[in-house]
């Protein structure tokens, strides 16, 4: 009753404004019409979730966007703390995009993301294929592979800090020294350049964000996240009908040919989902890097945090966060488009 009354009111208002045929009016009409029928309860039950989303996602996001458009800093007025947000338009974004440090942070983040994804696609798929085979102790192997994922991120960071300690009592150095693979300890967490014996490659890698420390971060991060990637891919593998492989065997296809022609293409949809999730996580990588390096490896997230909470420039910090968000969104759109194309084909 109430909803049909609302529909009538909206119709009248629309008519009076002469915008009945407008898109907005049609949307309103459709929305309120749906309230009269079977969707009434559907909308009523959705209200708490929508309110919660508005409260904890939409409002903070709008507030953060407003902060990014201002010279936002902490001020004290009359003994009360406050955030002043003097409007500066897009100035924060312009300044950030003109800052070479931002682009270095961008390249560092890109290096971290791309190399991590490469590891996940190759080693992750390999692990998943291995876990999908029938062999003695397969269940125990699956459990062991999954253990690192159960370790909290901060604990993982501390653990790798001890493994990578640059003195000879660091776990990795100790093992390598005892095996006589190295003659003196390596400082794994130092952002020293790679390929120092090939100067042009070394400087290119340095420009790209590749360093000993960054590679160590990737190893530490992948050790913890590879299991979940492998398990997701394993779930994808298990949806591939066994008949395809049997038919391929009958046709005389080798194991590599089977992988190339059956496994890899059919893993596409789950792979896209994994890549979307992981790309977004990797672009926001923070805990491991901050715990082990503080501001020494300034990826985009660390740059945003430093601007806001160390320098007190909440405007710049928010702007960088939005740039990370836009970047994630763009990459997600590319992946999703690809996913739809695969499904359509």
């Amino acid at each position: 009753m109430l909803s049909s009354a609302i529909v009538r009111v909206v119709e009248r208002v629309s008519v009076s404004l002469g915008t009945r045929k407008s898109l907005l009016s049609r949307m309103w009409h459709r929305f309120f019409s749906s309230l009269t029928g079977e969707y009434l309860w559907f909308y009523l039950l959705l209200i708490p979730s929508i309110l919660l989303l508005i409260l904890v996602v939409i409002i903070p996001m709008v507030f953060a966007f407003r902060m990014s458009l201002g010279n936002t800093m902490v001020t004290i007025l009359g003994g009360k703390g406050n955030l002043s947000m003097q409007w500066v338009g897009l100035q924060n974004y312009i300044q950030i995009l003109q800052n070479p440090n931002f682009w270095q942070a961008f390249r560092d983040t890109l290096y971290f993301t791309v190399v991590s994804l490469l590891v996940e696609v190759t080693v992750g798929v390999g692990l998943a294929v291995l876990m999908n085979q029938q062999f003695f102790g397969r269940k125990i192997f699956r459990v062991i592979v999954f253990i690192p994922w159960a370790i909290p991120t901060i604990v993982n960071a501390m653990l790798w800090g001890m493994v990578f300690d640059g003195d000879n009592y660091g776990a990795l150095n100790d093992i390598l020294l005892q095996l006589h693979i190295i003659s003196s300890p390596i400082v794994w967490l130092n952002p020293s350049p790679l390929f120092t014996n090939i100067p042009w490659l070394s400087s290119f890698m340095n420009w790209m964000g590749g360093s000993v420390a960054m590679n160590s971060m990737i190893v530490g991060d992948e050790w913890r996240t590879l299991p979940i990637v492998a398990v997701l891919l394993l779930a994808g593998l298990q949806t591939i009908p066994n008949e395809y492989y049997e038919a391929a065997k009958v046709e005389g296809a080798s194991a590599w040919r089977q992988f190339r022609a059956i496994t890899f293409p059919l893993l596409g949809p789950i792979m896209s989902i994994v890549l979307i999730l992981r790309t977004m996580q990797l672009l926001r990588a923070f805990t491991l890097i901050f715990t082990l390096q503080q501001y020494g490896l300034p990826t985009l997230s660390i740059n945003a945090y430093q601007q806001a909470f160390s320098f007190g420039n909440f405007g710049s910090g928010s702007a960088i966060s939005f740039l990370i968000g836009i970047l994630s969104l763009l990459i997600a759109v590319v992946y999703i488009n690809r996913l739809y194309k695969e499904e359509m084909s």
Binding site: P185, V187, A213, G296
Partner: protein, 430 residues
Amino acid sequence: MKKKVASVLMGLTTLSTLLAPLGVANAATTPKVVLKVLYMNQAGYTTTVLQQMGKAFEKKYPNVSLQFTFLPYGQMHSAILTSAAAPTAQYDVVLSDLIWTGEFGIRGYTLPLNSYIQQNVKNAADIPQSIWNGFKVNGKIMAMPFLANFQNFYYNKAILKKAGFNAPPKTMAAWLHQMQVIKAKKIVQYPYEDSWTQAEGLVCDYVRTAGEFGNGNLFNAKGQPVMNQGAPLKALQFMRTLYADGLANPNSLTADEPTAANAFASGQAAFNTNWTFVTGIMNNPSQSKIVGQGVVTTFPVAPGTNRATQSASISGFQGLAMTANTPASLRPWAWKWIQFATSPAVQAQHLHSQWPVWSTIASSAQERKLNPSAPVYQKNLDAVYNRPIVVNYLQVSSIIQQYVHEAIAGTIPVKQAADDMVNQINALRA
């Protein structure tokens, strides 16, 4: 029987309901003042020591309750900043590092304590001027000195003796020579380890080394950065030499202060330049392999420099500050806590934990008995250089950290790193 039990329960419930308001009314007559205090997890005045001080304060003022929050150093600044953004302070009293003095003072995140100090601290002159200077901005005192931390020069006398030296170095050239001899004789692989990870500790070591070359002030009297000339440039070159010649452990580039201290206490390094907490570590058998071998002394300096002090150190003072959004009703109590914790009487009870800020306590017989190196401490304290007091210090520090780190590692030539450092700081200040 069931009826009896039920009626007894009913009676008790009714009685408790009737008496409850009396309890509330009783509590309301003696309202408890709750002070929220932010402190740092650190050596010296540890969290345990602070809680002991807090209990003594609550005993003295039974109507006050202290609520401590302890955070690592890296989270302190952001916690104070976010507390300042709230209408009412999340923390009424905070531990304030001297490097935040400029920012907190100019942006008004903490309250000037001049009037409180003038009215209540009769013997303010007993705190050395070098300590007061760390907390002053435009004449306003932004924190009451609480912790007099500074760096000392530590050496392992057994290693020096093996290398043929009977005394620690007095000049920078002599120090370099001793390290070269120790390395050449293969007594230890790396004679020195320092905290050169890209963090605030690196700035401290850079300022101190510049001080050892005669001028630890990274900004001139006009407020211009001068890292690309004179003592600061020599310091950067010296630090690069130590790394490039294998005199400093390469791990220094990722080491913080405790890591460097542990390397020294394990006997791996002949020298360590570090905060006062190393004295405790090197003499503690459970933490040290060099008990009785570690010695604390004054810093070597370049000839003809630092004539008055014959040493050059770096300040790491910390004070207790009152946040500007602390409610007016709590401010007198916040000051009472600050005055209590920083008082000579309380500091005298904790001499085994920390060097006091008060000169009379520092030179007392009790201190000399507990710390035989007290005269050396005093000399190093008198020779401290402060890091720059500027409003955007953390941004300036971030630039210094980046370029000093790169210069030491050799990814940028020393002079270019110093020039880039100056240019970036100038651009920031433009």
